[in-house]
């Protein structure tokens, strides 16, 4: 046994130094949020929570490749919990937030984590931005009638509901139908062309997508609809799921046969950003549609003027849409609290918690339901479906019969980025600009 005393000493010293340093630097860097800490403490001291505490969980990837997303989930849930506690909590309970790390969403880890939350922490509800691609969480939560909220993966959600219609009554998804991702841009773009608002050089379309259900499902839909409208798909290229920094070969194929529209549904913002930059080195006279990246604040911030002219869409209105008063206000309050626009999923978990609060209070008033009692969770779920309505980032948020946001109130919108700003170009009710020809045309 080699117990290097010197090593041990250096170990200990370096750990202490490192923690001191990181503490100092971390303090240096951490954004100072608007002080709701005082309100929180005050509420507690007032004796405002006669019924004690109610635990709720927020789950997400806190470590690993997707750590930025997990942090966003946590930020949104924390924000909501602080505000709600400052107003007296839910039904006399003070909310206590438990954070769970789903790491890389391996099904065994995720189900174990949820079992822990349900059986050990005894949480009353679970909030997430998104979960595993196969939504195994639904099955675990269904077993215990645990309220589970996410805001993504509409297709996987629909698949599961089609398979087992009555099983997932307590799982709610804060997204409206994703179908507009497939048809809205092709139809609108074609209309712009026919109305003379935009010029095109031919009727070719190049589509790049990545190897996962979300990206390829949307790409297939876009392909289908463009073909239906009389366009030809001249490039249909799948990239492996993961970091892609070198788009040279794909761009070479595009430059050899320039299309009217270039589409990239590889939803990792970093990949889409490098795609755009490398395209701009020798751009073709095409229009560019990037599926997800442009809706994130980082994409616009970090690319700046380079993303001028790019289109993206949303199956409903969003926080940036002009005229979306609730959404715009929410965005302003978020900027005040976090110092800058937080990632999109912050708003998802924030609203999940607030909607849960509303449902609990209505269920309490109408049915005497108690959020802490496991047997009352089905009542709260029923209330969510039948009696809850929330004005939020995507407009009027009401759940439909599959526990997703009702498409009735979801208005698909299309945006164009221009000099670091987002302009809504469709539909007319919300648009504050016309689609413009991209600056890279020559």
């Amino acid at each position: 046994m080699a117990l290097g005393k010197k090593t041990l000493a250096i170990f200990v010293i370096s750990i202490i130094t490192a923690s001191l340093l990181s503490g100092v630097i971390g303090y240096h860097i951490a954004p100072r949020g608007a002080g709701t800490e005082e309100a929180y403490q005050k509420g507690f001291a007032d004796g405002r929570y006669p019924n004690g505490t109610l635990k709720v969980a927020v789950l997400g990837p806190m470590t690993g490749v997707l750590a930025s997303e997990g942090e966003a989930f946590r930020m949104g849930a924390e924000w909501a919990v602080e505000e709600i506690n400052a107003l007296g909590g839910i039904c006399g309970y003070k909310l206590e937030l438990v954070v769970g790390d789903t790491e890389d969403f391996e099904p065994a880890k995720v189900t174990t984590l949820i079992e822990k939350m349900i059986n050990e922490e005894k949480v009353a509800a679970i909030f997430c931005g998104y979960g595993s691609q196969s939504l195994v969480e639904y099955d675990v939560c269904a077993k215990y009638n645990m309220l589970y909220f996410i805001g993504a993966d509409w297709m996987a959600h629909q698949d599961k509901w089609a398979q087992y219609p009555e099983k997932y009554k307590t799982c709610f998804n804060l997204v409206p139908s994703y179908m507009p991702y497939r048809y809205h841009f092709p139809e609108t773009f074609d209309r712009w062309v026919r109305e003379g608002k935009l010029q095109i050089i031919n009727k070719k379309v190049a589509i790049v997508y990545s190897d996962n259900y979300y990206s390829s499902w949307i790409a297939e839909g876009l392909k289908e609809n463009f073909i239906r409208l009389g366009y030809n798909i001249t490039l249909w290229e799948m990239v492996p799921f993961g970091t892609v920094t070198e788009w040279g070969s794909i761009l070479a194929k595009i430059r050899a046969d320039p299309p009217a529209v270039i589409i990239n549904t590889d939803y990792i913002p970093s990949n889409e950003a490098s795609f755009v930059e490398q395209f701009l080195e020798a751009p073709t006279n095409s229009h560019m549609f990037i599926q997800y990246g442009p809706s994130t604040p980082e994409f616009v911030q970090l690319l700046g003027n380079k993303c001028t002219g790019i289109y993206y869409n949303n199956p409903s209105i969003e926080i940036h849409t002009p005229g979306n008063k609730p959404g715009n206000e929410l965005l302003q309050r978020a900027i005040k609290r976090f110092g800058s626009e937080p990632p999109s999923y912050t708003f998802t978990t924030y609203q999940e918690v607030w909607i849960y609060k509303q449902a609990c209070e209505i269920a309490h008033e109408y049915y005497g339901a108690d959020p802490k009692k496991p047997e009352d969770r089905l009542i709260i779920a029923q209330t969510l479906r039948e009696k809850t309505a929330w004005w939020g980032s995507v407009g009027l948020m009401v759940f439909d019969e599959t526990n997703c946001l009702s498409a009735e109130y979801a208005v698909p919108t299309i945006y164009q980025l221009w000099e670091g700003q987002r302009f809504c170009v469709e539909p007319a009710g919300f648009a504050n600009a016309d689609p413009r020809m991209p600056p890279w045309w020559h």
């Binding site: 971390g26 860097i29 806190m62 990239v239 070198e246 040279g248 070969s249 930059e277 080195e281 020798a282």
Partner: protein, 294 residues
Amino acid sequence: MGLEDLAAIIISTLVSGSIYTLMVVGLALIFQTIQYFNFAHGSFYTFGAYFVWYLLYILKLDYFTSVLILIPASFILGFVMQRFLIQQLVDREASPLVLILATFCVGSIVESTLLLIFGGRLKRLPYPIEGSIEFMGATMSYHKLLILIISTSLLVFFAYILNKTKMGTAMRAMAQEKEASYLAGINVKRMYATVVGLSAVLAGIGGWLFGCMIFMTPDFGSSTILWEGFIVCTLGGAKAGMKGSIFASYLVAFLETVLTRFLPMYNVPPLIFMMVILMLLIRPEGILVKGGSQ
């Protein structure tokens, strides 16, 4: 296939090749002298990127100074890791598995610390030079050209050190005969630490350059860079050393560029793996990879 395509392929190969070379030379350097794969290499990349980010945006230094300070900082990181942690294992002639695990743990600590300090939100470094130039109908951004220049100069610099300086001769001697080196009065421990320090500098610079091209997350080093570097290094072969790894880098870059031109991009990584397998089966540059029985 016109002249433009040829130019595009040449440029892509040169650029990718220089990126890989930067990744791989550090690994190969350590592997040749101390005979282990440094699995903390990826985290040194991440460190490089975040260190420059910190100096640039928090301490508000100018770009040139930030990069300049990066060099000694990375060197210290690598030097300390080797001298005070890994050296013990090397002295004990621990098996490569142990060394790999140990360096991986160091890398994990580095990246987790970065996550704690900087948070997970995506960041990016600004390009040192904006814009691009045209070359025979194909374009190359100035940043990529900078990578090419830096990579090549570092290579030349290291070749010079290895071949023409006393320190380099000592390094080469150690790679071949450790006991004799001890007798010759070379401070082996300090040499080893210097080697890892230099490798860390390469990684730090690579991290800086990468941080301009991608959206940084606190683990981009160990999730992408490390494995790519490892694969290319293995292709270069264990015994082939620096020359082998440089050759392998450009070969992989060339194949990737050419294959993605004609095949769907999806199938290229498995093909590269196939090549590694074939190469090992046909021409295994095998040294016994067990510390105990050499």
